[in-house]
Symmetry: C2
Subunit: 340 residues, 2 copies
């Protein structure tokens, strides 16, 4: 019942463990005869190398760590989808952890992954992460690290992102071109760079098209939720009747706004245009369907993994690694919540 080991094969064949090992790894100094004998017996016994022993010897686990803020999230689950699929094809397994937007948990999880000696770490920062010491530790330990989506510019590692500012610009421009004259913004939390950049893009577009920026119609979503979208839509409807366009930080927020306006009978997009962000599946099936910015989650996961594997390989060879930042394109998805 115990697992088959090299030793057992060696004994059964009357040869040494060394030769068995070499035969299985197709070394040149093993005769074809013994080679086939070993291979046949190994197959017959269904030999599987003990990966604990292999890990110890080779000092690599063929495992990578992945930390994301939350998994029940259309964008992130798409990223995860790409990563685990591609990783498996390259012979890597993925350990997934979620930080739940907590810096403290993030710290612990980094320590966990480091102690498990994963070959590399892929990660999207929590919104509340301010101190970056735990990430610097990863870099100091010489463990390859690739950040995606929620990144920090202060970290010296490879990154995969979208251009949030230009995406925010595009979203706002789309509303303007579809006839909106006074555009509100339901922005994200104040800390994350992505949220800041989308806001900056929004502002820039207003400037370029000579629309007055008005901070009283910029609302901050702390949790980026349906309810906040609903709540701020109500605020717009009661206190800012002249607003005729909304750029929401996320589809979920946008859908909250759509739900409110549907409820009170405000016509979308006739009376008010709405655009979201991310292109969740959900956005395509509500009515009216929500215009949005497509954020390529699958591509991002794929690219991040590719970069990480490259760095793992380089590190193993002892080569100096060249960090790079990849910017993935986004595009405007026009649907029925904007009247283009």
């Amino acid at each position: 019942m115990g697992e088959v080991t090299l030793k057992q094969i060696a004994e059964e064949l009357g040869i040494s463990v060394t030769t068995v090992s070499k035969a299985l790894k197709n070394y040149a100094d093993v005769s074809p005869k013994t080679k086939t004998a070993v291979i046949n017996l190994a197959n017959k016994l269904n030999y599987q190398p003990n990966s604990f022993a292999v890990n110890l010897r080779t000092k690599e686990s063929k495992t990578i760590g992945l930390i994301i803020p939350e998994i029940v999230h259309h964008f992130f689950s798409n990223v995860v989808n790409a990563i685990i699929e591609k990783a498996e094809k390259k012979g890597y397994l993925v350990i997934i952890l979620q930080s739940n937007e907590s810096e403290e948990l993030e710290k612990k999880q980094i320590d966990l992954l480091l102690s498990k000696r994963v070959d590399g770490i892929l990660m999207s920062l929590s919104n509340n992460t301010k101190n970056l010491d735990h990430l610097k530790k990863v870099i100091e330990h010489n463990v390859p690290l690739v950040l995606f989506d929620k990144i920090s510019k202060l970290l010296d590692c490879s990154k995969v992102v979208i251009d949030d500012k230009s995406a925010g610009y595009d979203a706002t421009e789309h509303l303007i071109k579809s006839g909106c004259k006074k555009i509100a913004h339901f922005r994200g939390p104040l800390n994350p760079q992505g949220s800041i950049d989308r806001f900056l893009g929004y502002k820039k577009a207003l400037e370029d098209y000579n629309l007055k920026f008005d901070s009283s119609i910029v609302f901050t979503c702390e949790k980026v939720s349906f309810n906040e979208g609903y709540k701020f839509a109500k605020k717009i409807h009661t206190e800012h009747k002249d607003v005729d366009g909304i750029f929401a930080i996320t589809d979920l927020v946008g859908i909250g706004a759509v739900a409110y306006f549907n409820e009170v009978g405000v016509k979308i997009p006739k009376q008010i245009g709405i655009i979201g962000f991310s292109n969740w599946f959900m956005a395509s099936v509500i009515s009216p369907s929500l215009s949005t910015i497509d954020q390529p989650g699958f591509e991002m996961g794929k690219k991040s993994l590719k970069l990480l594997l490259k760095e793992i390989k380089a590190t193993k060879k002892g080569n100096q690694i060249q960090h790079q930042t990849v910017v993935l394109p986004t595009k405007v998805i026009k649907r029925n919540s904007t009247a283009f």
Copy 2:
């Protein structure tokens, strides 16, 4: 730069590796003096035990494997959410793999996890899995296995499920009680037990309420998609005008139907009542909001993990394990797509 080992600590302190190891594990036969000396130095050097070596010695990896059909899926991502969160708290890490509904991939992934020597496996079967040899192999290898949601009754292991038949009954009954007289069913694929049971529950409810079962208004969704819901709704609308209720195998299918009827101006729930299954978030935000059956994903993940950890512990002790099947309750969520 190299990692700190017991040996280094031992040398620096002029004692043996054995004593260092024992000191850190708080053995009784180490004097308090050397104990504190070791602990202090270990902390100072930030010693982390090499988990490869620990794994090899203890023959356990403190890692479990999780295989699901797909991760970009509200129900499954909720299950995953629960599992990785609870596992982390219990000192276990989770390796996630997705079978993409392919039996072949599932086989490979089981082999992978087995070769990585995970301490246990959690899994939801692919819809296309017919041969169960790979799962029997897991059991033969004495690796604890817990199946959830998509299970097979032929496998001798613990299981966590919902009562699909009674849930299907409840859904259908709810339509009947809200006034529907002719109820169609958009069922799932023919193979998976869950899909069969929901259909059986549907049939039973019709019988109990003296409604005629009519196989011409039972449609089979192969991929359980939005498009299928849309397509079959159209079919109902054009070929079965007298149908006034639909029980959809999943919210996604239900939402497809809602979208179609919205488009052609059929009033929900006045002209037709619709109920879905799973209680995706999406179902609550479309209009009209979709009545559904709540399928407790988080609970299921939590319970499955708990069972698995219990079996892992028992196996380690060499105890005989008592397999059990847990049935989690579902409930009807009444919303605006049914006129109760």
